[in-house]
Amino acid sequence: MENKNKDGQVIVVTSGKGGVGKTTTVANVASALAKMGHRVVVIDLDIGLKKLDLILGLENRVIYDIIQVIEGECTLKQALVKDKRFPELYMLPAAQTRNKEDITPEQVVALCAQLRPDFDYIFIDCPAGIEQGFRNAIAAADQALVVTNPEVSAVRDADRIIGMLESAAFTDIKLVVNRLRNEMVRQGDMLSVDDLLEHLCIDLVGIVPEDKGILVSTNKGEPVVLNERSQAAIAFNNIARRLSGEDIEFLSFDDESFWRRLTRGLFSSR
C-alpha cells in the first residue's frame, strides 16, 4: 500500500449483526499482519462488552483502558498492551464498566491521529448494532471490512451496514465471508459466496471456512493463525496478505472434496 512507511491506515471491522466473527477476524488478521512484520494496533471499541483482549489472551495484562486514555487518567502509551507473541502487535483495551455513549466520534478520531504515525495498520473492532458504538467506530476509519456469515439475517444486516458506510462517504468497503460450510453450499442448503457478492455488490477480501479450531483457540486465547494446519488460519493469513497489497487467489475448498467426490464416484460405479 502506498502509505507503507507513512501514516498507518485505519481499518474498521464491522458487521451489524452480532456473533458473525468481527472480533475473531480482527484478532487473527491483525496477528497475521504482525507476523508478517507490520506494526499493528487493535482498538476494542465494544465498550461494556469487551472481548478482544480475551480472544488475544491478553486479559490479565490490561492495566488502563480507552476511557481512561480519553479522560486523561493515563497516557495512550501506558494503556497500549503489547502482545505476548508478536512484538509488533499492540492492543488498546475497552472498558467493561462503562458505556458506548461515554466516548464521541471526535475523540476516536483524535486517538487514531495519535496512533497513525507509529503504526502501519490500526484495526478497530466495532460493536454490533448501528448506534453510537458504530458511529464511534467508523469515525476515524479509512477502510471498512464488513464481516458476514452466509445466512440471510447476517446478509441483511451487512447490507444495512454497507448502506450506512456508503452514506458516511466510505469508498473502500470490503467483504469477509466467515463460517462458510462448503459441503452445505454444494447441497444448496447455504448461500454461496457468489450469492452474497451478487446481493451486496462489494469487493471480496476473504472467505473463511467454518473451523472447529476457531472455538478452541478462542477459548485458549490464542489466535488461530498460529495453527498452520487450520483452513481458517490460511484464510485469515490470506486476508492479511491481500490487505497488504498482495494479489492472492481465493482458497478453493474443493481440493479436499475432490478426493471425496472421486471415492464416491468409484463406489457408485461398482
Binding site: R156, D157, D159, R160, I162, G163, M164, E166, S167, E198, H199, C201
Partner: protein, 209 residues
C-alpha cells in the same frame, strides 16, 4: 387506379390492393396532394382492398392525413379479420404509462434501511435490496434486481407501472393495491418484467421493448 370520389365534407379514396405498405404510402401521398383544395378537418374514408395493416401502420396513415389537415374516418379492408391475439400483442405496456413531470434518477444500489421517495417517477441504475423502500407518485423503473419494497402511484394513480430488469420484490404496491410473491413458490425468472394493474388486479408480465 385509385378513385377519389367526394361529397361535401367527406372524401372516399379507393386505393385498392397494393403489394406493400410502402407503395400504399406513395399512392396515398400522391392522392392527397391532389386534394389540397379541401378544407382542413375533412374526413377521409380509405378502401385498401385486400391489404391488411397493423395498428402501427394505421397510425402512420393517420399521421399522413393529419399532415394535410384531414382526419381518418374509416379504413376499409376486405382482408382476413384481425384475430384477438394480434390486438393483444400490439398493445405495449408502456402505451398507457402515465406521464409525470419530474423523474429522479439514482445511480447506485439501494440497500437495507434506505428509503427513496419521489412525487414523480423513479429510475434506479442499480439494485433495490431487501429492506430498502422506493415510494413514487409515478412509475418506478429498476435497471437491476428489485428485491425490496416498491410503491408506484403512491397518490392513487392506478395506471402507474413498476418495471425491473429482475423482478423479485419483497412487496409490490401500485396505488392502493398491495401484493407479495406467492408463498412457497420460487419462480426463477431471468427476463425483465413489468407490473401494472389490469382489470383491478396487479399483473406481472414480460417486458416487451
Amino acid at each position: 387506379m385509385a378513385i377519389a370520389t367526394t361529397n361535401k365534407s367527406e372524401i372516399y379514396l379507393n386505393i385498392g390492393t397494393l403489394p406493400s405498405f410502402a407503395e400504399l404510402e406513395d399512392e396515398l401521398m400522391y392522392q392527397l396532394s391532389n386534394l389540397s383544395s379541401y378544407p382542413p378537418g375533412t374526413l377521409v374514408r380509405i378502401d385498401i382492398g385486400e391489404q391488411r395493416l397493423t395498428s402501427k401502420q394505421v397510425r402512420e396513415v393517420e399521421d399522413m392525413l393529419l399532415d394535410h389537415g384531414f382526419y381518418l374516418q374509416d379504413l376499409m379492408s376486405n382482408g382476413p379479420p384481425e384475430s384477438e391475439g394480434d390486438k393483444e400483442a400490439d398493445e405495449h405496456p408502456f402505451d398507457h404509462m402515465p406521464y409525470y413531470n419530474d423523474t429522479v434518477m439514482i445511480c447506485r444500489h439501494l440497500r437495507s434501511g434506505q428509503k427513496l421517495f419521489s412525487e414523480g417517477n423513479v429510475v434506479i441504475l442499480g439494485d433495490v435490496n431487501p429492506g430498502a423502500e422506493v415510494i413514487a407518485g409515478g412509475n418506478i423503473l429498476v435497471m437491476g434486481s428489485l428485491r425490496g419494497l416498491v410503491h408506484a402511484g403512491a397518490f392513487g394513480d392506478e395506471t402507474a407501472v413498476v418495471s425491473a430488469y429482475r423482478m423479485n420484490p419483497t412487496q409490490l404496491r401500485i396505488a392502493n393495491h398491495i401484493t407479495r410473491p406467492p408463498d412457497g413458490e420460487n419462480v426463477d425468472v431471468s427476463i425483465p418484467e413489468v407490473a401494472r394493474i389490469r382489470t383491478d388486479k396487479v399483473v406481472i408480465e414480460k417486458l416487451k421493448l
